[in-house]
Symmetry: D3
Subunit: 62 residues, 6 copies
């Protein structure tokens, strides 16, 4: 602990690397704790809804 | 926020569409808040246990 | 399973009762599974951030 | 409820079977409640960060 | 990682101590990994629904 | 989405404000998405276990 769980769309490995590095830097500084764990979860657009509509359907309509 | 996270078995896209639509309708009405996010997570039967037994094993035995 | 986790602001017991009843009805119908669990989490406005700002600070400014 | 969610690396079905059985035994005994649900989530090493570094990168360097 | 999150009713400190000790023993043995984190979340009966009904209401009716 | 959930010890409001601001900045930059939600959960030391021991007990022994 602290533990940071991030739910977002799919991203490439380099972005994951930067995400883990930079989120950890922020949390270490503010909590003043060394041990930080980050879990990244990648969600398909058909598994996420915003305001009643699937993200997959929104993007199709744009 | 509010945020609704749903863990269940795999379902097809049309059921996901209805799930997001109908869960959002309920939450909007009760919380009286417009912005609702829904995350659907699909779990394989071998990743879920009920009362000490994998769902995958229960279905095999039925 | 299915499991529905809801993160929102504090609500009274009657709204929780309706939330559990109505979210369960939706999930039972769409998943066609009887056993549904709902977990409601109430979050203080100073524990939620939207677009970089605490909800607690947004409401103060309105 | 109770609900136990486990995030770890990928494991084979037999380990999942034992994990569900043994975690459930512990929780049943301590909570004195019969109905226990376990959700296992398998995380790729490039989706987990420890102390600012992806697990995928740590293993590469060892 | 692994990370174990447990949602259940309120329990006393001694039961939490045993829960953390015994869940960790199981996970260490099966994953063969030393570093295990356990998060215990205590849920009020009016924040949990089972099959459409608040746990708080079920207990009242018994 | 993206959604960032942070589990840590209790912190004061100003640290929460900075945490939300800085985690959001990182996520916006890397995902290139404007809408970011952050949920902060504060965990009592007796509800967190590390390597089989409650954090509450570790601190007592130090």
């Amino acid at each position: 602990m602290p533990l940071i769980q991030v739910d977002g769309p799919s991203i490439d490995t380099d972005k994951k690397r930067r995400l883990v590095k930079e989120l950890t830097d922020v949390a270490m500084r503010i909590y003043n704790i060394q041990h930080i764990t980050v879990l990244i979860r990648e969600n398909q657009p058909e598994n996420v809804g915003s305001n009643g509509q699937l993200i997959a359907d929104k993007h199709r309509g744009e």
